[in-house]
Subunit: 225 residues, 2 copies
DNA sequence: TTCATGCTTCGGTTAACGTCGAACTATGAA
DNA sequence: TTCATAGTTCGACGTTAACCGAAGCATGAA
């Protein structure tokens, strides 16, 4: 008996290596062009174009034009969440690449998940936010008064973040840590702040690289030992 | 550049309607036979047998024999979590069945997610547990002393649950509510208890049906208005 | 031992899909 | 206006995979 949403169609779209690679590349929240995505997926322009047409038709990606460039991005953080979930499942069931490189460890240490920090650092941050009572968890994760002061002290405009449509805080399940990290508008703003402060920078693909002093500052800020 | 776990293979397995239907049928945590799953998927025995062979080879399902019967179950709660995630994404992107029936609302109200309560009731329960300080959230969800007394009062053997391998409490993202419900050994034990008490019973498929008095008792127990 | 049931395996058929070369369209630069 | 670049569309080709009828294997009942 079939009920509920139709998942086979979505899963089938993710089930092609070229499309999966393109979506994974978009997990860093940036918008990429057809040419760039063709390169990431290792297929020709025509093949990439056809795949992106399918992904957009299924509302998994959004396309915007700038002159003759077509930019594609994920249509929402839930796409990244599903990809994270699949990565966790692939990890547990043994669907992993034979040769793991330094990139794999780097991805586990810190990476971007759509627009917020994921990986060990991401999970550490949410842990610390709870321990320091910066957030409380009712319906989902909510900011405490102490947290509001704390993040304002870090230079974030919490009022502006709250005015947006998306939730301020969201728990996001991390494939590599199997625990939650902090998503939502706050999660995104924090990563933006870390980059602006020079604590971290974007590295290859989805890797976020912390400088030694940046890692130290991050740990100090959140009282992480 | 390809890195991290290989998700296309897993996604491709979920991307066939017959296999997706079989996995969805197994989300209720029960074990089903090849014949039953063939019926659920609307394919012949041979086709179902082949699909199950693939799913088991990929470690998505586990098979155990009893005489000439082969029983299949999901290999872990993370498979159900990924399916829940895909259902949420399918819902948002419009990959839904044209005709929604009463079953759809029933699924939203209360259903089983692998072995614990999901849906509005499931989310309500976790909300209430937080509000009543029955759980605290550090690394993940942890039981408070008050919570330990509360659930022991409900007849649960918390010590035994903690001795098991799986985490006592786990947040599990609910596709229909877009918020977390309570998974883990405690989540499973609670649903088992509700059924044992007669508050709820299994209905068709994954639907969990609360009796009127059971729903009232559930609300009273968790101080839900 | 024979028969019934549950299930697997094999081989053939069909449809679907990804791929790319070639041609074309849209946009921007010279 | 012409040329270059980004991207789309079309058609052909090859591969893959789902499906099922038929045959066979494993298990249990009579």
């Amino acid at each position: 008996m079939k009920d509920g949403p139709v998942i086979a169609n979505i899963a089938a779209l993710l089930g092609d290596p070229a499309r999966a690679n393109m979506l994974t590349a978009l997990m860093d929240g940036r918008a990429l062009t057809v040419s760039e995505l063709a390169g990431v997926a290792g297929v020709t322009l025509q093949t990439a174009s056809g795949h992106l047409a399918k992904l957009s038709a299924a509302n998994l990606t959004l396309m915007e034009k700038q002159g003759r460039h077509r930019y594609f991005r994920l249509s929402g953080p839930d796409v990244a969440e599903v990809l994270e979930g699949l990565m966790g499942l692939a990890q547990r069931t043994g669907a992993v690449r034979v040769r793991t490189g330094p990139k794999d460890q780097a991805l586990r240490t810190a990476r971007i998940c759509y627009d917020h920090l994921a990986g060990e650092r991401g999970v550490e941050m949410l842990d610390a936010a709870r321990r320091l009572h910066l957030v409380a968890e009712d319906a989902d994760i909510a900011l405490t008064d102490k947290g509001r002061d704390f993040f304002t002290g870090l230079g974030l405009d919490i009022d502006r973040l709250e005015k947006g449509k998306r939730p301020l805080c969201r728990a996001c399940l991390d494939w590599s840590e199997r625990r939650n990290h902090l998503g939502g508008a706050l999660g995104a703003a924090l990563l933006e702040s870390f980059i602006a402060r020079g604590w971290a920078r974007r590295f290859e693909g989805r890797v976020i690289s912390f400088t030694p002093s940046g890692a130290q500052a991050f740990r100090s800020a959140f009282s992480i030992e």
